[in-house]
């Protein structure tokens, strides 16, 4: 089967692999991974940089909408499990099954890499933000100490009737 035919044959499995019914016209969870699989099949071979870039965008979009990295990965795992079952049923020729499984594994590793990188970047940002927070806290402490001293002085002056 040609790359184009293979991609089209897997495209048919979309509704079986993804929860399209529950999500109506919106992209169901794991759609970005399924689309990445179709792209991997249509280019028919190793193209990790291209795959990475598009997946980065899709995953970044999901994270930006508030999904956690865990949820993104869980959706990908679910899609992968369902895909294995659907491929066994849908493809008669073992060679065709192998092509899809190979591509799916490539996509799974790429998704994991992208999600991990996102988590690592977030950790680095959080670490830097925490350092900034701690610096702010030190400055606020200084301000507070000064304010307390001023208040104490004013209170003492007022109490002694000094103007």
């Amino acid at each position: 089967m040609s790359d184009r035919d293979m991609s089209a044959a897997v495209q048919v499995l979309r509704d079986e692999v993804l929860d399209t019914v529950e999500h109506g016209d919106r992209d169901p969870p794991g759609a970005e991974v399924f689309d990445a699989l179709l792209r991997a099949l249509s280019i028919g071979g190793e193209s990790v940089p291209g795959l990475d870039l598009t997946l980065h965008e899709s995953v970044a979009r999901r994270l930006a909408w508030g999904d956690s990295e865990e949820v993104v990965l869980q959706d990908a795992e679910l899609m992968f499990d369902r895909l294995l079952v659907a491929v066994d049923r849908a493809f008669r020729d073992p060679a065709d099954r192998m092509v899809v499984v190979e591509a799916a594994t490539q996509v799974a590793v790429t998704v994991a890499r992208v999600v991990s990188l996102a988590a690592v970047s977030r950790a680095a940002r959080d670490r830097a933000d925490r350092l900034r927070e701690e610096m702010s806290q030190r400055q606020l402490h200084e301000v507070l100490e000064k304010q307390k001293a001023t208040i104490a002085r004013l209170e003492a002056d007022l109490k002694s009737g000094f103007r």
Partner: protein, 624 residues
């Protein structure tokens, strides 16, 4: 003008590597800051003559500069030195038959003063200038094709595809005298010069070179990273790099920390020890039994030294080692976490007190040190985190073994076990880990290889054996992944526990950054490619092959999921700590706002004599 001693403030480093393909390094170099002379030579010629040529030329150039530098101008000196190199190599080539045809390229830089450099070159070794983040090529390769382009006989496109594009038109050794191209260069603060052999630019793009050269890292790091870049690009040739950095006009923050910051920190070590003692360092259980001064030396002074060395070199390796040694030794003695945490808190707060004091004297330096010391303490925390992860993994394994042993004892006492209690081929480890340690990796996910025939299991084993055999001997992590895949894919009773344990082994002690994580995923990807191609080499029916690949792929996916889960687990505490810090800052802001309000009220009252909080507005008589 005569040659002078090298200008101060110039930072320089050179490095060379034989590459991934060749067995001998025919490149040579001179890095001589005393005379301000930096040279890269790339030898050529069969029967080991290339390395001889480049070394002869190197020695001749160095000797010429050493003996003539007081009598010649820079231009005469550099050109003369290269001519001397050429004459030496030519004479040696003529003297022995097997050395006929040997030669070497040469690119050289001689510093005239801190703001001027003289570049000379023969052949296709190159000099680049990085200015304002942009990389410029300063030399033009002396190849036949380049000369044809110059004469208008070839277009640049044709030159790129020309079969003789690497044939040199000039080199040192082809004749007794050669033509040397010289260019004088005005340097601006922060400019970086790169001298390199074709082993670098032949295997790395100009963009990548520009990126690394402009990274801001120290020249020794840059020289090494450029070589690493060429090796990653294939490393088909010997590669040599020399990186020079013109002095910065104003010291950067990093430089300030490295010099003044490190010194200021070290000068206050006694103060640090005093504060640490006040805060209870000598009473911590970790140093129980030690004399107080010994305890302070062993823990406090060691950290002080580690921070000093890390500040000096802008690294974290010393603090990392300190934290690992301290925590590792304590845990080995059966120590508890709370004491270690307490000790780290004492050290952390004491160092902050010292930094705050430096800040009072020199606000700018104090600010920079604050960041640098905070960074060092974060490194220490990461080291502790790594150790804890290691211990956790060990505890997991111990518990599973204990549980297995216990289960075997129970099974042995029951003569006829109930059928309904027995899982099909399930090892006890699966029953034990009934709750995943990675939140989204559920043990109830479908078992990928249940009911696989022996034929498929054998095919899986054969595939992974072939993949292992094809793995590079140095790729230990890839081999580890392949073994893990075999364990998971052939695990007849489900693969949840196996994949979690295998992922923990793979994850090991890693820092939560790109350098820590990427090798893991590179290895996973490499293993995937190896298994996908190895499965086609086993002699089995197509259907069995497909089943084997399916099981391996499912195992791969499990392993990748578990490994990613560990990355996410490792990253989570950073967010938690940030939330805590944000909450604390917010609380402090509220306190400041309240205090400000109170202060304003008091000042108003002080100015008017009326307490605005009183309903009658009379002169203030309220008791505070």
């Amino acid at each position: 003008m005569s040659a002078s001693t090298p200008p101060p403030g110039i930072r320089v480093a050179g490095d060379t590597n034989v590459g991934s393909v060749r067995t001998t390094n025919e490149d040579s170099m001179i890095v001589d800051p005393l005379r301000g002379l930096y040279v890269v030579l790339d030898g050529m010629g069969g029967a080991n003559a290339g390395d001889i040529a480049s070394q002869m030329a190197r020695d001749a150039i160095a000797e010429f500069v050493m003996h003539r530098r007081s009598t010649m101008t820079h231009r005469q000196l550099l050109e003369g030195a290269i001519q001397a190199g050429s004459a030496t190599v030519f004479a040696a080539a003529q003297a022995k038959r097997e050395r006929h045809g040997m030669g070497t390229t040469c690119v050289a830089c001689m510093m005239i003063d801190p703001a001027r450099a003289l570049i000379a070159h023969v052949g296709d070794s190159r000099a680049y200038l990085l200015r304002g983040g942009r990389l410029q090529l300063l030399t033009r390769d002396h190849t036949i094709v380049e000369e044809l382009v110059d004469r208008g006989l070839l277009s640049p496109d044709e030159a790129e595809r020309h079969p003789y594009k690497n044939v040199l038109s000039r080199n040192l050794g082809a004749r007794a005298e050669t033509r040397v191209d010289l260019v004088e260069l005005e340097l601006k603060p922060g400019d970086r010069l790169l001298l390199c052999s074709d082993g670098l630019y032949g295997y790395a793009s100009a963009e990548a070179i520009q990126y690394i050269l402009g990274s801001g890292d120290a020249p020794d790091h840059v020289a090494r990273d450029l070589i690493e870049l060429a090796l990653r690009g294939g490393g088909g040739d010997n590669v040599t790099t020399i990186v020079l950095e013109a002095p910065q006009a104003v010291p950067s923050g990093t430089q300030m920390v490295r010099t003044n910051g490190a010194v200021a920190w070290w000068q206050r070590r006694q103060r640090f020890l005093h504060v640490a003692k006040d805060r209870g360092l000598t009473k911590n259980p970790i140093v129980r039994g030690l004399d107080p001064s010994e305890a302070l030396d062993l823990v406090g002074l060691s950290l002080c030294q580690a921070i000093f060395h890390d500040l000096e070199k802008s690294t974290g390796v010393n603090v990392w080692t300190f934290a690992q040694t301290l925590a590792g030794g304590w845990f080995e003695r059966g120590g508890d976490w709370a004491s270690l945490r307490g000790m780290m808190d004492i050290l952390g707060t004491s160092s902050r007190v010292v930094v705050d004091e430096i800040r009072m004297i020199d606000p700018q330096l104090g600010f920079l040190l604050d960041i640098a010391v905070s960074r060092a303490l974060v490194v220490a925390e990461l080291a502790l985190g790594g150790l804890l992860a290691e211990r956790l993994r060990q505890v997991d394994t111990d518990l599973i073994q204990l549980h297995s042993a216990q289960q075997e004892t129970i099974d042995g006492t029951i003569e006829a076990p109930d059928e309904s209690d027995t899982e099909v081929g399930g090892p006890t480890a699966d029953k034990f880990i009934d709750r995943p340690t990675i939140p989204f990796l559920h043990p109830d996910r479908a078992i990928t290889n249940s009911g696989e025939s022996n034929e498929v299991i054998t095919a899986i084993e054969k595939t992974l054996t072939i993949a292992r055999a094809r793995t590079s001997p140095r790729a230990e992590l890839v081999k580890q992944v392949l073994s893990a895949l075999e364990a998971i894919a052939t695990d007849g009773g489900g693969n949840f526990a196996t994949s979690v344990l295998a992922a923990r082994d793979l994850y090991g002690i890693r820092t939560v950054d790109d350098n820590g994580i990427m090798p893991l995923f590179d290895a996973l990807d490499q293993a995937r490619i190896l298994t996908a191609s190895s499965v086609h080499q086993i002699q089995v029916p197509e259907l069995v092959r497909a089943r084997a690949l399916r099981a391996i792929s499912a195992a791969h996916q499990r392993l990748v999921g578990a490994a990613t889960g560990l990355v996410l687990e490792a990253a989570a505490p950073f967010t938690d700590k940030l939330r805590e810090a944000q909450a604390k800052t917010s609380e402090l802001r509220d306190q400041v706002a309240k205090a400000e309000k109170r202060r304003a009220e008091l000042e108003r009252k002080f100015a008017t004599g009326v307490d605005p909080s009183l309903p009658w507005g009379s002169r203030g008589t309220t008791e505070w």
